[in-house]
Symmetry: C3
Subunit: 119 residues, 3 copies
């Protein structure tokens, strides 16, 4: 049985983890800390939060497997992709999917990321 390492709790709530590590994979979630921003700026902020969460877990974006992207307005997807293209590790391209869904408060983007752990 592989042990489970739970990091957190989340800054948003005391009843959920910020990241969970199990059997060589970390899963983590992020939104933008600052909500009064454009989607591009929220995307940059959320991707930076992913970087921090991965570092905290002991890995980094070069080891990302999949990024599931929820944005509130699908017509703004090019703005998310602009932030993505500036951020992504081009030597280690993640898989991604992006759909539109409503999010709480003034969030314009939410990310769910899985990454392999570093050795």
């Amino acid at each position: 049985m592989a042990p489970i390492k739970r990091i957190g709790p989340s800054r948003l709530s005391p009843t959920r983890s910020r990241s969970v590590i199990h059997d060589g994979i970390v899963t983590t979630v992020a939104t933008s800390n600052t909500k009064v921003l454009s989607l591009y700026d929220q995307a940059r902020d959320a991707l930076a939060a992913i970087d921090r969460n991965l570092q905290e877990a002991g890995t980094d974006k070069s080891r990302i497997l999949m990024v599931m992207i929820y944005i509130t307005d699908i017509t703004m997807k090019p703005e998310f992709s602009r932030a993505w293209d500036e951020w992504v590790d081009r030597a280690n391209l993640p898989l991604r999917a992006c759909v539109s869904a409503s999010l709480e408060h003034d969030h314009l983007v939410e990310l769910v990321v899985t990454a392999a752990m570093d050795p």
Copy 2:
């Protein structure tokens, strides 16, 4: 090659599984069995279905890694979170993400859960 154990079929359809176990992780899906209910009541019912599916697979909520939550009305998220807070194992907090999406029929919530298997 790790074997795949498929539990089911789903009570909703003969062409999908209810749970799938592979390499120490079970993935399962649940909605509320009873649809003429508030989101809070449907959430309680769906979380109880998750408990049953995990038990059937041979694990329990203390081993949950991630819960992906789809609710039809994002403004009702606090009602989901109320059911969550009553249900969650506070010694073993899962990761979660919650977005709004349309669901079939009168479902107000659908859950996709991954959990580590017990030894």
Copy 3:
């Protein structure tokens, strides 16, 4: 540390992978190549793309664990399910969940699939 094998880039964009393989699991994403179609026809086309991606990765639909289905119109879910029922390997039923979300351009369906690798 399990190595990561990245296949791609995606035909849609040079900054993401088409499939990612890690620790015996491949994750892949597909939409329909042809957008001027009904949901049923797009679903057939997207499921065929999944078949191709799995073959390229070295596995096939008999080893699928989970299919996450995003369709733009939840009332059309029976049309997706019709294509699913014709396509699915009934001896190896995947887990699936289907929600409605907006998608870019004229896509009516997007699929995110995890599958175990063949030996």
